[in-house]
C-alpha cells in the first residue's frame, strides 16, 4: 500500500519487513530517525528484535559482528562521524564474511560541524569490503534494503544502503510499503553460512599467515565479483514480486548523447528534470545514474557510455589532493577503452548545498564549451561570501 512516509521511516519499514533479529545503534547526532522508529518497534513488540543501545558507533558495529556471528540477521544505521568511527570494524565485518546491512545517511564530515548531505563519509569507506548502493528516492531505499540483505547473504559480504541526508532521510513522499508475506517470499529466513556454536567450536578471525592471507583477500574480491553477477538475478526476482527494478546503473538517453551527466543519489532525480527541459530544446544530453558503487559496475558503465561524446561527472564529495571520487572511478573504468570520451569532473553541493537544475545546467554548459577537460576538478558555485565566512 502506498503511504506518505519519511525516508528514515522507509528504512525502518524495510528493517521490520526483513525480520531483523538484532539492531544496534548509537543514538546521538549524527544519527537519524531510523533507529528512533526501530527502537519504538522493538519496545512495542511490533518487531521481535533485540535493540542494543551502545556507547559509540565502534561498539555498535562490534556488537553486530558478535550478533551476526551467532547466525542472526542484523542492522544498524549511522552517518558521517559515526561511520568514520566504525572504520576499523568495517574491515572486521567484511573479513569475517558477515552479511551485515547498514543504512548510511550521507552527511558531511566535521569540522565545520555540518549535518547536511555529502558523500565523503561513505566514499571514504570504499576499500573496506562493503557493498555500497546509492539511492535516489525513498522507494528505492526501501527496495534496496531488502535486496541488499538478499545479495549480502548470498555472497557473505556486508552492505551499505546509502541515502542523502534530509533530501531523503527527512523528506516525506509516497512510498509503496510491501506486504510482509510478499517480503517473506523474496527474502526467506536467514540461513547462515556459518555460525558460532559451542557444540562445534571454532575461533573466528584468528591470526592468518602470509601463506593464506592473500587467498582470503582474493576470496573477498571474488565475492564482490559474484555480487555483481548476482545482482541481476536478485533484481529479477524482486521485480517479479514487486514490479520494480533499478539496475547497478541506469542509463537515460545515453545512446545518442553528446554529453552524459554521471550522477548518484538524489542528484539523479533533479537531473531528470533538466534532461527533459534540454531534450525538449533539442539538446542531446543523457544521464548515467550510478547506483552500485561497490562492486563498481565497470562493464555496465563502459556499455552505457559507448556512444557518449563527453562525460560530466557530478561529485558531491572530494578526495583531497586528487579529484571527485566518482570521477576517479569512472576514469579508471574507461582508461583502457580505446578512444573513450573525455571525462569532466565537477564538484558541487558539498555540505548540503543545493544542486539545483541551474547548477546542473551550468555543468552541462561548461562541458559543452570546453574542448578538453582540465586535470583538476571544477568546483561549482563557490562564492566570495562563503569564503569570507568566519574570517577575522
Amino acid at each position: 500500500m502506498k503511504r506518505v512516509l519519511e525516508g528514515s521511516h522507509a528504512v525502518a519499514e524495510a528493517v521490520r519487513l526483513a525480520r531483523i533479529q538484532v539492531i544496534s545503534a548509537y543514538p546521538i547526532t549524527p544519527q537519524t530517525h531510523i533507529v528512533e522508529i526501530l527502537s519504538d518497534y522493538c519496545a512495542s513488540g511490533k518487531m521481535n528484535a533485540r535493540f542494543l543501545r551502545v556507547e559509540s558507533e565502534h561498539s555498535c558495529l562490534a556488537a553486530l559482528i558478535g550478533a551476526q556471528s551467532t547466525g542472526v540477521r542484523t542492522f544498524t544505521a549511522t552517518s558521517s562521524q559515526g561511520l568514520a568511527l566504525m572504520h576499523e570494524l568495517l574491515h572486521w565485518a567484511s573479513g569475517a564474511r558477515l552479511p551485515i546491512v547498514m543504512a548510511e545517511v550521507n552527511r558531511a564530515l566535521a569540522p565545520g560541524w555540518n549535518i547536511w548531505t555529502d558523500q565523503s563519509d561513505s566514499l571514504a569507506q570504499r576499500d573496506t569490503g562493503w557493498m555500497q548502493f546509492y539511492c535516489e528516492d525513498a522507494q528505492e531505499v526501501l527496495d534496496t534494503m531488502l535486496m541488499a540483505y538478499r545479495l549480502a547473504e548470498m555472497v557473505n559480504l556486508p552492505a551499505m544502503v546509502v541515502l542523502d541526508a534530509f533530501f531523503l532521510s527527512h523528506t516525506y513522499e509516497p512510498v509503496d510499503v510491501p506486504e510482509q508475506e510478499e517480503v517473506d517470499r523474496f527474502l526467506p529466513a536467514y540461513v547462515p553460512e556459518f555460525r558460532l556454536d559451542t557444540a562445534h567450536p571454532f575461533a573466528l578471525s584468528p591470526l592468518v599467515a602470509p601463506n593464506a592471507y592473500m587467498e582470503m583477500r582474493r576470496e573477498i574480491a571474488a565475492a564482490m565479483d559474484e555480487a555483481l553477477e548476482r545482482l541481476d538475478s536478485v533484481e529479477e526476482k524482486f521485480a517479479g514480486i514487486f514490479g520494480r527494478r533499478y539496475g547497478a546503473v541506469e542509463a537515460v538517453c545515453c545512446d545518442d548523447a553528446d554529453i552524459v551527466l554521471v550522477t548518484s543519489g538524489t542528484v539523479t532525480s533533479t537531473a531528470r528534470i533538466l534532461l527533459e527541459e534540454l531534450r525538449a530544446k533539442g539538446e542531446k544530453i543523457g544521464i548515467l545514474k550510478i547506483k552500485l558503487f561497490r562492486p563498481f559496475p565497470v562493464e555496465a558503465i563502459r556499455r552505457a557510455l559507448a556512444g557518449a561524446k563527453k562525460i560530466a561527472v557530478v561529485d558531491r564529495n572530494f578526495s583531497f589532493g586528487a579529484t571527485g571520487i566518482f570521477a576517479q572511478e569512472l576514469r579508471a573504468a574507461l582508461c583502457n577503452v580505446p578512444d573513450h570520451p573525455p571525462v569532466f569532473g565537477f564538484i558541487a553541493g558539498l555540505g548540503g548545498r543545493d544542486i539545483t537544475t541551474e547548477v546542473l545546467a551550468s555543468i552541462v554548459e561548461q562541458t559543452k564549451t570546453a574542448d578538453a577537460p582540465p586535470a583538476e576538478s571544477i568546483w561549482i558555485g563557490l562564492t566570495e561570501a562563503a569564503y569570507a565566512f568566519g574570517r577575522p
Binding site: 547536511w116 527527512h170 516525506y172 513522499e173 533533479t270 531528470r272 528534470i273 537544475t357
Partner: protein, 189 residues
C-alpha cells in the same frame, strides 16, 4: 508543480501541518513531497517547512526558494522575517491573525487570506492560551483558500495522524474552513 512554504515557531506543529497536508493531498490524488527546513531545530525559534504538489512524480530534490504560496502560523514572525521572500507574484499568503492587517503594502501583488486560527484552536481546547495548537485550523483555512484538498481528505488525514483529540481537531479545521476571510488580490498602489 506547486511549492508552498510554511512559517511557524518550533513547537507549533508547523512540520506536522505540512505532513498532514501532504497526506491529505496524496489522498486526493496528488503527488506530494514535504520536508522541514534542513537544519537544527529549536523550540520557539522560527521554523520553515515546505510542501511540493504535482500531478506527476516529483523529481526535484532541492530546497524551495521561490514558493508559489506562503502560510504563516504565527503573526509575531512578521516583525522579524520576510514571509514574502521569493514568493511568486500572485501567490497566496495565508495569515493566522485576529484582525486583518492594517498595512497591506507588504502583500502588494499577492493574494491574501486571514484566519483567526488561535481563537478557533482555543475554542476547541487545543493547546494553551500562550501556545494554542493552530495547525489543524490552518489546514481547514488552507483548503478553502486553495480550493484543495477536499475537506474529506483533511478529515481523513487528521484521523490517521493526530493521536490526541482528533475530533476536536477536525472541528477546528471545519470552523476555520468556514471562517477564513478571503481578501483576494492586494493591488499594487
Amino acid at each position: 508543480m506547486v511549492e508552498i512554504r510554511f512559517h511557524g515557531r518550533g513547537g507549533q506543529g508547523t512540520v506536522v501541518l505540512t505532513i498532514l497536508l501532504a497526506k491529505a493531498f496524496f489522498q486526493a490524488g496528488w503527488q506530494v513531497q514535504s520536508f522541514p527546513f534542513f537544519g537544527v531545530e529549536r523550540r520557539g525559534a522560527p521554523v520553515e517547512a515546505y510542501l511540493r504538489l504535482d500531478r506527476a512524480k516529483i523529481l526535484a530534490r532541492t530546497n524551495v526558494t521561490t514558493p508559489d504560496h506562503v502560510v504563516v502560523q504565527d503573526q509575531t514572525l512578521l516583525a522579524n522575517i520576510s514571509v514574502t521572500r521569493g514568493l511568486k507574484p500572485g501567490g497566496w499568503v495565508l495569515l493566522n491573525c485576529a484582525t486583518d492587517p492594517e498595512d497591506l503594502s507588504i502583500y502588494a501583488g499577492q493574494q491574501l487570506a486571514c484566519v483567526d486560527a488561535s481563537r478557533i484552536a482555543l475554542g476547541h481546547r487545543l493547546g494553551s492560551r500562550t501556545a494554542p495548537i493552530v495547525n489543524t485550523a490552518m489546514m481547514g483555512a488552507f483548503a478553502r483558500m486553495f480550493g484543495e484538498p477536499p475537506m474529506e481528505a483533511i478529515i481523513a488525514a487528521i484521523r490517521e495522524e493526530v493521536p490526541a483529540e482528533p475530533e476536536r481537531n477536525i472541528a477546528a479545521a471545519e470552523e476555520a474552513y468556514r471562517d477564513v476571510r478571503i481578501l483576494g488580490r492586494i493591488p499594487v498602489s
